[in-house]
């Protein structure tokens, strides 16, 4: 684990009902970590609830999406001199018990992605959504030096080099905060590893059950992938030639 205090960054948009529990659970498992809630233009009491619980709160004036919220968190980490940042969702789907493994994984990698795909996982996807995930995973794994089985996971940690990079460049497009950011990291020579995590779901009947929605997801995922791959090529030409 990198020396110094880690920062647990929680992007939150109208999560007043779950944010309190997430903060207290994070504090229970990581008592030494600083907690930052990036309030992404919430109209409910997310920000005040988080502030009352003693978390640092950065409030964006309007909703900018997870990508923008995370870049804000990386800027905060960089300026505050934090050497490690872990992203945790505000809806409670990520288990803070996994935080320790995400942080120790940074000893040998710049980014550690919590993967939902492992033998003990309860996570299941099917249909076009699965094809999209396999496509994204295969493409990113080929670019990386080790496999990335779950590139769309938002439960991940970043070390000092990744913080430095993401503070200046973090994509805000659809899937940019997950897939796009990994491709930028790989291109910049950062090492990505993964560790198994548990994820909870608060609702059954996920939108992935809807075929049309899944097809749309596949389309947007492919577009996002093509865009990041082309972006990478362009930059390679500019930087190395």
């Amino acid at each position: 684990m990198p020396s110094g205090q880690p920062l647990i960054a929680i992007p939150a948009w109208n999560e007043q009902d779950s944010i309190g529990l997430v903060i207290s659970k994070v504090r229970e498992y990581q008592p030494n970590a600083a907690i930052l809630v990036v309030d992404d233009g919430s109209t409910d009491d997310t920000a005040s609830t988080a502030a009352e619980l003693g978390a640092a709160v950065v409030s964006l004036p309007f909703n900018v999406g997870v990508g923008g919220a995370m870049r804000t968190a990386f800027l905060y980490a960089q300026r505050g001199g934090f050497s490690a940042l872990v992203q945790v969702d505000a809806d409670g789907q990520h288990d803070p018990a996994d935080l320790d493994r995400l942080l120790t994984g940074l000893d040998s990698a710049d980014i550690v992605v919590g993967t939902r795909f492992h033998p003990n996982s309860m996570y299941f996807v099917g249909g076009p959504r699965k094809w999209a995930m396999v496509l994204l995973s295969k493409s990113l794994s080929r670019m990386n030096r080790s496999p990335i089985s779950d590139p769309t996971s938002g439960f991940r940690s970043a070390g000092p080099r990744a913080i430095e990079l993401f503070a200046s460049e973090y994509p805000a497009e659809y899937l940019g905060d997950t897939v796009g950011s990994l491709s930028i990291a790989i291109h910049n020579g950062l090492l990505i590893s993964e560790t198994p995590v548990t994820m909870y779901y608060r609702a059954i009947g996920r939108p992935s059950k809807n075929a049309l929605w899944s097809a749309l997801y596949l389309g947007r995922a492919s577009l996002a992938l093509v865009a990041t791959v082309l972006k990478r090529r362009n930059r390679t030409r500019g930087d190395l030639d």
Binding site: V38, V57, V58, P61, V64, G68, R71, T72, Y76
Partner: protein, 118 residues
């Protein structure tokens, strides 16, 4: 009223309208120049319609009006793409500013809290 006159009047009206927007500072110069140029070309050809017909015939377009439609759609597409580009860039800039404001506000709150303690 001859069609040429209608076209010429329309061009002049657009000219005056754009100029007025520019004068009031509502329209930025770079956009004003673009529209003034388009209005100017339209005015020119409404005064000399024969010239446009000759150009069309020279290019092998049998119906000059088709060339007109083709050119106007090309120009409009280019203008719209340019707008999409600037819109995307401005969106990225606004988002960047929002992030910076959020960080500054947090820092400011923290500073004033510290000052209260002293």
């Amino acid at each position: 009223m001859p069609p040429n006159l209608i076209a010429a009047i329309a061009s002049i009206v657009i000219f005056i309208f754009i100029f007025d927007l520019l004068r009031r500072g509502v329209l930025k110069e770079k956009y004003a120049v673009l529209w003034l140029l388009i209005a100017g070309v339209a005015l020119f050809f409404s005064i000399f319609p024969g010239l446009f017909d000759s150009i069309a015939l020279f290019m092998g377009v049998s119906q000059p009006v088709n060339l007109l439609f083709f050119l106007s759609s090309v120009i409009l597409v280019l203008v719209t793409v340019q707008f999409s580009f600037e819109l995307s860039r401005n969106e990225a800039r606004i988002r960047r500013l929002a992030e910076e404001i959020a960080l500054l506000r947090e820092q400011n709150d923290r500073n004033s809290e510290n000052n209260d303690k002293h």
